[in-house]
């Protein structure tokens, strides 16, 4: 009799509660979930195998496309790994430009994440504002690099070209117009009592369990630990600028989304400070001819802080002009597979989308 009460439900790949194509099989008793099994694999393109057939430099257009929402942190971590293997230094102005570029990309990614969560809860107005502000930042990227979504701007040794004339003023103007709208966002969504009632206490995780399951990023910072790779192992120009790392104590979906809003404001202040301090000089140290550039036999592990957590790459070279093995450690892998299956046990069916998007998961990053 007890087996007949269980129903198997397929929470499929086309759903408002998913970001990307990712499905979950739920075993349900009444309204509560008994067991959840994640099925990734809709977006598996085999990146790491494809990268073994191309040069070190020819891999940059491939590396971009692993994370569709924030491709710049992928380029950055791969370029840093190649530089560590080959022993190349980056000039100082190149480091400052890389930092400004990564922070702009972080703001754009947080606006997209805000669109996804706010739209899922039903507040369409604030979601469309977030998409409009992200479009203003994509226009800035188009002027600098030529493409709106995929940039291919960071390369080993620095960046491809310097800022064009008048670009600094355009950045300042765009950030003022985004920052000036934060009170509107607060009044519409963040201080709304409906958001509090729907997100408070949902998907709760405490510090010990988070550390045992390998959580990073917003999931860990919402439980009270100030874990940020930009402070622990500073790279680019992050040790020259002063910034806070926002944390909360409760560990539920409400805290995670508030951290997203606080991080956006921190990034805006960071860009203003960096633009004042930027020195003059070169932006690129020359690297050898890409078809003949051979890197000695070594392996290395490098990590950066993307907008979702700790992103790392393990790169092995065999002495040829192609990589021998590349393996990306993406933050959505632990959050979307290990922690999701743990948090969904005992939850309500109507909370599945809420928990999934508040864990800040992106499906292309899981499958690669």
């Amino acid at each position: 009799m007890i087996e007949e009460r269980e129903l198997e439900l397929f929470y499929g790949p086309q759903h408002l509660g998913m970001v990307g194509n990712f499905s979950i099989t739920l075993k349900v008793e009444g309204d509560t979930i008994v067991e959840a099994i994640a099925n990734p694999g809709y977006l598996h393109r085999g990146f790491e195998k494809l990268m073994e057939y191309r040069n070190w430099i020819q891999n940059f257009p491939l590396v971009c496309r692993i994370n569709v929402i924030e491709p710049d942190s992928m380029e950055m971590v791969y370029a840093m790994a190649v530089e560590k293997l080959a022993g190349i230094e980056v000039p100082e102005r190149g480091n400052y430009i890389r930092t400004i570029f990564l922070e702009l990309s972080r703001i754009a990614s947080h606006l997209f994440g805000a669109w996804a969560y706010v739209n899922m809860l039903g507040f369409d107005t604030a979601a469309q504002w977030a998409m409009y502000h992200r479009d203003l930042i994509l226009d800035l990227f188009e002027e600098l690099t030529g493409g709106r979504v995929y940039h291919i701007y960071i390369q080993p040794g620095g960046v491809r070209r310097d800022f064009p004339k008048g670009f600094k003023d355009k950045i300042v103007k765009t950030l003022h117009s985004i920052g000036g709208c934060i009170p509107d966002y607060d009044a519409t969504f963040f201080n709304n009592s409906l958001f509090y009632k729907r997100a408070n206490g949902i998907g709760k995780i405490n510090l010990e369990t988070a550390k045992k399951l390998g959580a990073v990023g917003q999931v860990l910072r919402a439980t009270g630990m100030e874990y940020d790779i930009r402070k622990i192992e500073p790279y680019a120009a992050y040790d020259k600028v002063d910034f806070n790392v926002p944390t909360r104590k409760k560990g539920d979906a409400y805290s995670r989304i508030w951290i997203v809003r606080d991080e956006m404001i921190e990034s805006v202040h960071m860009i203003f400070k960096l633009l004042e301090q930027m020195p003059k000089g070169d932006v690129w140290n020359r690297t050898p001819n890409p078809f003949k550039w051979q890197i000695p036999e070594r392996d290395v592990y490098v990590r950066v802080e993307s907008s979702r957590g700790e992103l790392g790459v393990y790169l092995v070279s065999n002495g040829e002009n192609k990589p021998y093995r590349v393996h990306f450690r993406t933050p959505s892998y632990t959050h979307g597979l290990v922690i999701l299956e743990k948090l969904l046990k005992g939850a309500n069916i109507s909370d599945v989308g809420n928990i999934m998007i508040s864990l800040y998961v992106i499906a292309p990053e899981i499958d690669r």
């Binding site: 598996h44 393109r45 085999g46 195998k49 494809l50 057939y53 257009p61 491939l62 496309r65 709106r148 979504v149 995929y150």
Partner: protein, 104 residues
Amino acid sequence: MMPEPKYVVGFGSCPINGGMYWDSYNTIKHLDRYIPVDGWIAGCMPRPEAIIIGVTHLWTLIDKGMASGYKKYREKYKYYRENQEKVLGKLEWQPLFPLKESEE
């Protein structure tokens, strides 16, 4: 199954001929061999202006009666079903339309 009439637009350069992943073991390369496609939008990612032009072009094709992909699916179903079975293995559903040799 969607009721007819229905239209398919290939978005991006990956359905056209494989795109960036032309040598990947897990992606299909030409969408036209598996379901009938009425229009393509190129780009990776396509620009917003390209998307608008692509969708409004589909409207003019529908008005002229030239977007007949769903009729072609019914006539040439044997060709599409053979290609689908070659890539996806044994399909779990029965043939949707009667498999007859297409007269040309």
